[in-house]
Every structure is written in C-alpha cells, then in structure tokens.
Amino acid sequence: MNATATQSTAHHQGSGERLLNISDLHVSYGMVEAVTGVDLQVREGQIVTVIGPNGAGKTTLLSAIIGMLKSKGEVHFDGHFYKVPDVENLVGKGLGLVPEKRELFTSMSIEDNLLLGAFQRFRRGDRGYETTLAEVYSLFPRLWERRKQMSGTLSGGERQMLAIGRALMGKPRLLMLDEPSLGLAPLITREIFRIFADLRRQGVSILLVEQNARAALKVADYAYVLEGGKVAMQGKAADLANDPRVIEAYLGLASKHQELLSS
C-alpha cells in the first residue's frame, strides 16, 4: 500500500484542549519495530479513531500509550509529560483502556469486576464510585441483572459491556478502546457505538481502534490510518470516509459494491 500521507496539521483537528499528545513514538519487539515514529493527538471531547489493516501496530500503539509496553518518544496526557508512562499512574490520572481481549476477572462476579475498575479512586479515598456504579448499571441494565454471576459465564456482547463498564468505573477522561466491535452482532455493535456518542456528550474523550472502519469513521471526529507502524493518512473522519484510497483499502469489498450496499 503506497498511500501518501495527507499533510494535515494539528489545528485542523478543531477546537478543544489537547488531552493526549503523542509525538515520535517508537515501540519494538526485540529487533522488529512495530510502531515507528507515530504522532497523534486527541482533544478534549473528541472521538478519534485509528484504523488500519491487521498487524499495522494499532494494538501496540494503545499498549504503549498507557505504559503496558516500553516505548521511546513523548507522551503528554492532560498537561503532564510522561518520560516513562506507567499504567498505574496514568489510570489514576484518568486514562482508561478496554483491551482487545477484554482481560476480565473471569472467576470473579460482575460486580467485583466493576468495583475493581474503581480501585484507584478507592485508594485515593474518592467514595464517588458508588454513584458511578449506579450509572454503569443504568447504562448496561443487563449487567445489573447478572451482577452476582461469574464474569466467565457471560456471552461475548455482555463481556464487552462489562469491560467498558469496568473502565468507566475509573471515571476516565480519555477512554481508549481496542476493537470494541470484535465478535459482536450488528445490533450490539450499534448499541455500543451509540454509547460512545453518549459518553462524548458527558465529556469523555475517546480513542477508538477499529477494524469496522465504516462504523468507526461514522462516529468519530478525526481519524488516523495506521499502516506498517506509521501514520499513512489522517484527517477529519467524514473526509476520510469518502477518500477513495481509504474506501479501496479499508472498506475492502465495499469499493466494488458500493452501489449494491447503498441500494
């Protein structure tokens, strides 16, 4: 794929404070560099999406930002500079990640899973998490119905709801999601994407990594296309959704059958 990078400077992204600012980020596994020099910004109140083919380094990028993987480069979050991003600190400062594999505590109850999402707040003495728990339950009534069940018994969609709910328990200012639609039926995917829009209204910014490029571009304000560990294109989500190169490459089959689908 030989897409030339769309030159787009940060102020094209629109207004709002920069909540997350990544510059020149590099991540390597042994001798192989998986992310090479990525710059990326998320502004307050934005939904930003990162799309790209399998193996482009999307998951690696998220893991490095939150400090699960060692990286080189600069990570600014909420005005602070992190020389060595460390998860515990960043989670406490309001960064949340819903990983691709969900990473639930399968042999613990749903309610325990949710409560653990508020561990950092609990530790700081912030008792507001009980209110948040009620909010999460009203957002996902299904979790309330099953709150005593072991989380390992849940279905795929319920697991994803729990993973998102658990991340929300930490009252994140920026929520990062890795392939939230993975393995979910369209109806549930739709519901979850609607929730992202709701969250933005409540002031939560979102960084979304998706293989479902069309859905992601529809809900996002700004988008990056990651390819071979580099940003190949970026721009307003609406613009990218209509960019012929994006359509060809990432909406895959759609290119040939655009009409069929829209009819």
């Binding site: 193996g55 018994t153 795929g156 697991r159 393995g183 369209p186 293989q211 069309r214 089959l253 759609a254």
Partner: protein, 602 residues
C-alpha cells in the same frame, strides 16, 4: 578451527594437572569433575528441556549406595551374592536401578507442568535421603565404609591422582555424547521442549517421550557420578545426597549457564572454588568461623541471577574473541553427494475428499465459538476460511487440526474421525499446519527449525544420535529441510538464527517446516499476514504449484486480494456460523457477506 585448539590445550592441561598439582588441588578438581557430571544432566534437563529438578543429589546417592552396599557389605543376602565385590558389576546394577526409579518418577511427574516437577523432586529427594539414613543395612547415618577401589585394566585406582583420569575421561565423554545428542533429530525434539511443545507435537514429536529421555539421561549421569564418588571416597554416608546438595547442583547449573554444556563445567568449578574460598576467607575477614558463609553465598547467587539470569557462560562468551565464539557447525553438509532422498507418501487422487467437518460446535462457558460448522476440502484444491475478526475462525482451525475437541459434531480426515486423536497422531496421518502466532525456536538455526518438520520421516533413536551413528539419515533430513527452504525462497538463510528473520519470513519458514512433513493436507493460519507484495505473489505461486501436485490446502486469511485471486472455494464465517460458501466471485457479491464485513452502525 581455533576453538578446537583451545579444546586440545584444555585436555592437555588436564592430563598434566595431577602430575604437577598438590594432592589437595587434585582432590578439588576431582570434586569439580564429579559435580560437573551431575550438572551436565541438569543442563540437559533444566536448561534445554525446561524441567527443574532438586532431586539430582538423590540419584547420585542411589548410584553411590548401590555400589557401596554391593561391594562393601560383609554378608549380602543369598539372592544378591552373585553381585558382590565388583565395582563394575555394581555400576551396571546401579544404572539399572536408577533407570527404573527415574522411569517411575518420570511417569508420575513429567506430564505435569509448572512447579509440580520441582516440588515433586524436593519431596522424593528428601524421602530418599531419609531412607539412606534410616535403613539399618545401609549403615544408618554413619554410612558404609571400606569400599574397594575401582580396577581398570588391572590397575587399581586407589588414589585421587589416579581416579582423576577416570573421572575426567567420563565427564568429557559425557559432554561429547550430550553435544552429539543435541545436534540430532532427537536433540531437536528435546530442544523444542522449552517453549515449543505445542508446535513439536503437531510435527509428530512425542514430547512426553523426549522429556523422559532427558530425565533418564540426567538421572544416569548423576548415578555414574555417585558411583565414581563412592569409590573415590571409599566410604559413603547420607550427607552429600541431601536436599541442600540437590539445591547446590541447581545453583551450579544456573551460575554456569544452564543452557550450555560448558556452563556445567564452569558452574561446578566456580561454585566449588567459591565455597572453598569463602570457607577460608570469611573467618579471616570477619572472624567467627562458619557464620557468614551461607549469607554471602546466598547473596552472591541472588546477585548473579539479577545481573545475568542466563548464567556466566554466555557473559564469558561475549568477552571471548569472535573466532572462538563462532558456533561450531556441527551439522553435516546438507546436499552432499550420495545422500539418499527421504521416501515420500503416496498423495491421494485429485478430487478425493480429504477433510470434512460435520456439524462442528464448540462452546466455551456461555460463549458459542463455533456453531454447526460444515466444510469439505478435496485433494488438489485450496479452500479459504474467511470472516471478520472474532468470527470463530481460529477456534474452527483448532477443531480441524485436533488441537481442540468439538463440543459436538466431528471432523473426518481421509475418512477417519479425529475424535480423541492428539495433534501428534494427526500429523502421522499426513496433516501439517502453521500457526497464527508464529511458533518457532528463535535461537535455533532456520535449517534446524525446518528439520523438526521432518521428524516423523526419520527413525534413528537416542543412542545412535548420541554416538552419531545416524549421520546418513541426519544428512537426508537436513537435505530435505534445505530443499523445502529453497523451494519457499529462504535458501539464503539456512544458518541464520530463526529469531532474527522478519515476521513475514518466519511465516514462510513455518510453511517450509509443514512441507517437510510431506503432508497431503496443509492447514495455513494467516500465511500472508505481514508479507510484502512480492512475497505474497511468491507465496501464491507456491501454493498454486502445490495444488497442481495434488495437495489439499485450507487457509484462514484476512487479505482479500490474496484470497480472491488464489483459492478455489471460500467459506465465510460470522458469529461462529457459516454464512456463505462458494466460488470467490459468488462470495464477492453475496449480500450476507457484505453485511458481515461492512455492517454495524448503519
């Protein structure tokens, strides 16, 4: 060839040592040799095979006590009288006894993963130690004395200076045999135990047998060391066979470098000398004899583990001049004239039904990963299994390759049900696969990695490997590996470390490895991921060629361009179910497929 000179120099120095060194130093060297023999077994077991044992000292004791009892007891029971008096006969009996015990203990513990083996070995190490100290006929805690010296060619080895030669000759021989074994078909299977068991099984390696082999060898090395020890000391008591000695052996292995044959010698040497120095030095430094030894010793080991968890040998090698460092190319020259080709399997007729899934369903707790899946693959056909991420393709792949068993339904391979079959048995039938997350042994060469694929096409065992009597077959195996590597375009990388290849090349390596098994069905899990355009083209050409030879191929793939231009038929999955099946052009216009890939927020 410089390293050979160093080795010769080392042996000459050794041979001269007893002639010039004082008796005390020779005794120390004898101990180092005895310990190194035990540690060599641990290198094989722990460093190469990934299994931890604290029980080696007990095996040493078994060898010692067998010989002591048989050669020094005044009145043996009548049924044992035939074995009295001869150290060589008692060595043989000791070996047999140790082998029996090791087989029993191995059968009990080697199937277990994680920490059961070390804990289990602690338990029987202690039991055996107390047994030595309790049984009256073994002399209780005071032990057995008056052992006869070993006689060799009429020469009585009654002094440390004489035993020296026997001890070191046996040690060097054991090191040679170990080195030989590791560079063979059996050795590759053993080296795959650490981190590659799943892969090895799917290439037809019986990993349990390989584990048993190294466990047995390490026990025998220990028993032989015990026999030498007993006749060197000329008396035995339980103390040197206790758990703390078992721990010391493990310390030696880790200090020296647990993954290297020479690390055994280095570790045994350093630990023996260090203990000696600490005993001399600490009282002089700090007064108060004996109190600081353990503290300093323990802290030293912690320090080494923090600084160089791989032991001191690899560190030493980094310092050594490059010429010495070069890994000796012990592989026979692949492609030498006169090497016979490996026999090939008769491929099935084109169009014959090879693989069939019937109503395969797989559930994990509340999650239905596969639901009533049906598909067929025929000889001379490429079938692609596609679907969005999380559609259940990998689970399906695991059902087809017998890594996992369906909750209901069945998979048939050439008419045989795979129910209850292990992936090893499936490999024997002619199914060969690659892995989505590349599984290879990063520190082994590309050639050796691929040769594991041909495991089932050789049959020479451990003993001929250890003595290198299997060189002809070995050459054939490596030649086959080389041929397959050249076929897939990796011919330039034969002797590189597999871990140094790019990810795309590693995927291709896996295909070469699978081909080495001479299969009639290839299962490929995302073979094109991470490949560049040209490499994809080459891969497509290769797969087409294999198809025309009559191979059946099933691949799971994301890359639509790659799939559409190559395969004969496509099965599309979503939410664990088959939503479409047909020719590529049919799939491209199938509304259900488009919905699956593009649906969502609309």
């Amino acid at each position: 060839m410089k390293s050979r000179h160093v080795l010769t120099g080392f042996v000459v120095l050794l041979a001269l040592a007893p002639l010039v060194l004082p008796t005390f130093q020779v005794t120390l060297l004898n101990y180092i040799g005895l310990y190194a023999l035990v540690v060599l077994g641990l290198v094989l077991l722990t460093g190469v095979g990934g299994m931890t044992s604290f029980g080696q000292a007990a095996f040493v004791g078994l060898g010692s006590y067998t010989s002591a009892y048989l050669t020094a007891t005044q009145q043996l029971p009548a049924w044992l009288e035939w074995a009295a008096g001869s150290p060589w006969l008692s060595l043989l009996i000791g070996i047999l006894l140790t082998a029996t015990v090791a087989l029993l203990l191995g059968a009990l513990t080697l199937r277990l993963s994680g920490h059961y083996l070390p804990l289990g070995t602690i338990a029987w190490g202690i039991s055996l130690y107390y047994l030595f100290g309790t049984v009256k006929t073994l002399g209780g805690h005071s032990g057995i004395s008056g052992l006869p010296p070993i006689e060799l060619f009429g020469l009585e080895l009654d002094k440390g200076e004489k035993m020296f030669y026997l001890i070191w000759a046996i040690l060097l021989l054991a090191m040679l045999v170990t080195q030989n074994l590791l560079n063979s078909r059996e050795g590759r299977a053993i080296r795959a135990l650490k981190g590659g068991q799943l892969m090895a099984e799917s290439m037809g390696v019986n990993t349990f047998r390989s584990k048993m082999v190294v466990f047995l060898i390490s026990a025998l090395f220990a028993a032989i060391s015990g026999w030498l020890y007993a006749h060197n000391q000329r008396f035995v008591n339980p103390t040197p066979f206790g758990l703390s000695m078992g721990i010391d052996y493990l310390f030696m292995a880790l200090i020296g470098g647990v993954a290297n044959v020479w690390g055994a010698l280095l570790g045994a040497g350093i630990l023996t000398m260090a203990k000696q120095w600490l005993q001399d030095l600490l009282p002089w430094l700090l007064g108060d004899a004996g109190k600081y030894e353990h503290i300093v010793f323990g802290l030293l080991i912690i320090l080494i583990m923090h600084r160089t968890p791989g032991g001191l040998w690899p560190m030493l090698m980094k310092l050594a001049p490059a010429k010495l460092r070069q890994r000796k190319q012990l592989l026979p020259e692949a492609g030498a004239v006169g090497t016979p080709d490996l026999p090939r399997r008769d491929l099935p007729e084109k169009g014959e039904l090879i693989l069939q899934a019937k109503d395969v369903t797989r559930q994990f707790g509340g999650l239905v990963a596969n639901k009533e899946m049906n598909l067929e693959v025929h000889a001379g056909e490429i079938l692609a299994l596609i679907g969005p991420n999380g559609a259940g393709k990998s689970t399906m792949f695991n059902q087809l390759s017998a890594v996992d068993t369906p909750t209901s339904g069945e998979v048939l391979f050439r008419g045989q049900s795979l129910k209850g079959k292990s992936s090893r048995e499936v490999a024997t039938l002619g199914m060969s696969r690659t892995f989505q997350h590349v599984k290879l042994l990063p520190t082994m060469t590309v050639l050796e990695n691929v040769a594991i694929g041909a495991h089932l096409r050789g049959n020479k065992g451990v003993i001929s490997s250890a003595l290198h009597l299997e060189r002809l077959e070995e050459t054939s195996l490596l030649q086959e590996a080389k041929r397959q590597l050249e076929r897939v375009g990796l011919g330039d990388y034969l002797y590189e470390e597999a871990g140094s290849l790019a990810l795309g090349q590693q995927r291709i390596l896996e295909i070469a490895r699978a081909l080495c098994a001479d299969p009639c069905l290839l299962l490929l899990d995302e073979p094109a991921a991470g490949l560049r355009h040209k490499e994809k083209q080459a891969l497509a050409d290769l797969l087409s060629k294999l198809r025309s030879e009559g191979m059946a191929i099933l691949l799971v793939e994301h890359d639509m361009d790659f799939v559409m231009g190559l395969v004969d038929r496509i099965v599309v999955m979503e939410f664990g179910e088959k939503i479409a099946e047909g020719l590529p052009e049919e799939i491209q216009t199938n509304p259900a497929v488009l919905e699956a890939y593009l649906g969502g927020a609309d």
